[in-house]
């Protein structure tokens, strides 16, 4: 039961982007299209699960003074692995996500979960937490990407969804659009939260 609740909390109640507000950089940068968002989300999820499990495993033997550097090394290792794997097997996605794959290292979500959760919980729960947070991250990314891709390109997952007469609002897939979309989404979340 605990496993299940650790899994779901990341998706809504403690959604890393909308609620805890972590991991902004990739959210904004790769949400230009839904497929990029999914790729980034899944890569981060993989790293989250692995690093959470690993850190939970070694939590007993890591001296407190140097836990952060060790966490970073662990995370960096997993990130490098996914980076290489992607480059080898999903070259197009690797190209699209570019520098943001190595930057998963400094995605605050991952270190944040390592410190806040995995270093205090058992392996199974840590895995659930990682998976939940990862899915929450992926989901939020996809929501932002959906709005941006539809408005800015008229498509969703590369499928034309708006009539071809629609003159795409380019700004949606540019940097300003990313900030404003996310800002408005968060405001909407605030309003919903207030109502409840």
């Amino acid at each position: 039961m605990k496993f299940f609740s650790e899994l779901t909390k990341g998706i809504i109640k403690e959604n890393p982007i909308f609620v805890i507000v972590l991991g902004m950089c990739p959210t904004l940068a790769v949400s230009t299209s839904v497929d990029n968002a999914l790729g980034m989300g899944l890569a981060a999820t993989f790293v989250l699960i692995c690093s959470n499990m690993m850190i939970s495993l070694i939590k007993g033997i890591v001296p407190a003074q140097i836990r952060i550097p060790i966490y970073i090394v662990v995370i960096a290792a997993f990130v490098s692995i996914i980076n290489m794997a992607m480059e080898a097997y999903l070259p197009d996605l690797h190209k699209a996500l570019g520098i943001f794959i190595p930057l998963i290292v400094v995605n605050c979500i991952i270190l944040g979960r390592a410190e806040a959760f995995a270093s205090k919980n058992n392996v199974l729960n840590s895995m659930a937490d990682g998976l939940g947070m990862g899915l929450g991250f992926t989901l939020s990314l996809s929501v932002v990407a959906t709005i941006r891709e539809i408005l800015g390109n008229g498509t969703w997952l590369k499928m034309q969804v708006l009539p071809s007469t629609y003159d795409p609002m380019l700004v949606a897939i540019l940097a300003p659009g990313a900030f404003i979309t996310l800002g408005l989404l968060m405001a909407v979340m605030n309003i919903i939260k207030e109502k409840n």
């Binding site: 890591v62 001296p63 060790i70 090394v73 490098s80 290489m84 480059e87 080898a88 390109n153 380019l170």
Partner: protein, 188 residues
Amino acid sequence: MKLYLKLGFILLVVTVIATGILAYVNSITAPQIEALKQEEAIKSREELIPDSIFEEVEVSPDFSYFIARNKDTEEIQGYTFIASQRGYSDNVKTMAGVDPDFKLTGIKVVEQSETPGLGANCTGPDFTKQFQGKTMEDLMADKDGGKIKSLSGATITTRAIASSLKQAIQTLQQHVQQQAQTIQEDAQ
């Protein structure tokens, strides 16, 4: 002091383990990545000049090109190269092929970070196709008197691509002719 040494040692061990794992993963993926890259490069070159084998010639550390020879006759079919120039926001890299008369056989924009929806449209076939058959003289935006139809709203990108190609062809032509001359002189 002893504590620090111990901590440093632990960190070192962790790092070494991580490095080991990474080295292992790398040993699996690296050949795959390399193969992919090669394949892609060959594929793009083949698209530009089909049925050829390619031979790399380095002009300078910054510029090199490939001589394309017919698979059977070994006759020179043309050359491929990568041209690069600063566009609207960053460098735009274009791979291009020319025939032995230095007429473009085609181009492919391989790297760009231009504005999506504007300059970024330079990767689309609508834009790249028009380069086929263009000579060095044609390589200017129509606004500047050339024959390259500008991308709407992105003259700068158009100019960057056109002029980078022009420059590259110039360098290429010079080098090829020089090379031919040297060979001639050697023969004499």
